[in-house]
Symmetry: C2
Subunit: 316 residues, 2 copies
């Protein structure tokens, strides 16, 4: 039987309708049965429909019985409706086998769901930007997504980028990180740094102790990333993690008066402030090549030389 | 005897040295005795010296015995050094009559000082951008600053802008705000919204109940402002205030796909979520015309028709 994907829009309005259509076609071409929510192309101001419309769409996604409920896109819109989301309904859908997949603004829902119910969701692609590209979608992204929907995914691996290992020479891979080490049976959580840091101090930030926190962002200058990390640091969140894994931080603009202050400065600074290793290079974020990651699942992080692995075994 | 102003740089490096010099000259012309910290023009990456340099500058400002310790500029740099600041030394300086004045990134220090010691500091101008302008500095800003340094300031008044009262027609001035009302003896606090929201969940956010929260920001799109306000809302901060007073939100860019989502949408949304009145038009922020406001002092907010007043009596 074909795997069933439910497409819905919990955040910003879909602007690139051609990409949306290409994404749906691509998923059909890949052999999936695609169902599109009735409000997937709704719009109200910058949102994919008003708050009630988007809440209803989330409820329909939870009731769909699909193998994967996939967001059309991120943007902005979830944080303001967090108090009104029916987390029990989402957790029930998860327990029946629906995997909620998305990223960026979706980080808010994923972490709120984890905080409220402990249910696992998946950091992964969005329809338009990942499956609706004008050129062929990314191979690795599609393979990871297929592994997820068929229940065959067991983990994700990557190599530390040379530049990153150099930039954190005093940190991640020389002093703090042994050539070989592992963190076992730890809850993986996180997502978009701007969205996650906006949950600090609220009931929607999971209280994860001994976890592995992964982070990514886009369009944020390193000084802003550092301010967000500082909030997580001063709130005591970072000290409670066994590892911090940095994904891709893309599309920001350094300026002349940064005078050497850059992303690597922030990573070095961060590594100097927490005992847990700060690893870089995770292939996840606002980039084409992205893995899927279980938000809220227990995973093992293994590092062997320049190779890193996040392993969670069969997802079911 | 001339009033003594101590200029120091706790945040970003001074880039516009001509404005810095003009600012010092202007303060001297106004009849003040101006002392410039030895590291006021230091730079390290984007900062006004490394963390130790800026911490030492803050300590020297506290030890200066000046009537006003005035920041050269805001920018970024205080949040990362909050754990290392000697708040007792600052509070002692305040008790001896030194008024710490600044805005923007300085919001971090001001609120941390309030959280740690209860000491009052002042939201007000910065040297370069306010006193170092190429044209004549703003009259109202200078008058408020002089009232502060001579101890004659008793409050600040403003008229609600017509546009703002229209935009919050369902909120601030029709339903929620009576023609005449007042909030007495409440702690005024706040400052830059991005900086303040980055303190939520940390030990540096004051726990103010029954307060009056004022907010301003620059270069932040309304959707980002809303996300920050949502953090304050979901953290329970807004529900504890007796009023929220919005200053100036300047220099952001709306985009076509906002489709009607704008600052007024955010104000309306906010007013719909809290019982306390949301007032607009406070002349404070990243704009030329700014009043000075005591962060941490008990004030009275009085509204009479389209006129609003924040009153604190003599500052000493």
């Amino acid at each position: 039987m074909k795997k069933h994907i439910y497409i819905y829009s919990p955040s910003s309005a879909v602007r690139d309708k051609a990409a949306f259509k290409r994404g749906v076609m691509r998923l059909k071409t890949l052999g999936y049965d695609v169902e599109v929510d009735e409000a997937a192309l709704s719009s109200h101001q910058r949102f994919a429909g008003n708050d009630e419309t988007r809440l209803a769409a989330i409820a329909r996604a939870a009731a769909s019985g699909a193998d994967v409920a996939l967001i059309s896109r991120g943007g902005y819109g979830l944080t303001r409706i967090l108090p009104a989301i029916n987390y029990k309904a989402l957790a029930k859908a998860v327990s029946k086998g629906t995997r909620f997949v998305g990223l960026s603004d979706f980080t808010a829902l994923q972490n709120a769901l984890l905080a409220k119910t402990g249910a696992v969701s998946w950091a992964g692609p969005a329809l338009g930007e990942d499956f609706g590209t004008e050129s062929q979608p990314d191979d690795i992204m599609e393979a990871c997504f297929d592994d997820l929907i068929t229940g065959q995914g067991e983990g994700a691996g990557w190599k530390f980028p040379k530049s990153a290992t150099k930039s954190v020479a005093s940190g991640a891979l020389s002093e703090k990180v042994e050539e070989q080490f592992s963190v076992k049976n730890s809850v993986l959580w996180g997502g978009n740094l701007a969205v996650l840091s906006s949950l600090v101090g609220t009931p929607y930030l999971p209280s994860v102790k001994g976890g592995i926190l992964f982070l990514e962002d886009v369009h944020e200058h390193p000084y802003r990333l550092e301010r967000m990390l500082t909030q997580l640091l001063h709130a005591g969140v970072l000290a409670q993690q066994k590892a911090v894994v940095l994904g891709q931080f893309s599309n920001y603009q350094l300026v002349p008066h940064d005078k050497g202050f850059k992303l690597a400065s922030v990573v070095d600074w961060l590594q100097g402030r927490i005992k847990a290793p700060v690893l870089t290079g995770l292939p996840f974020g606002h980039v084409a090549t992205k893995v899927v990651l279980p938000v809220g699942a227990k995973v093992t992080l293994a590092v062997d030389g320049r190779n890193a692995f996040l392993l969670w075994g069969h997802s079911h």
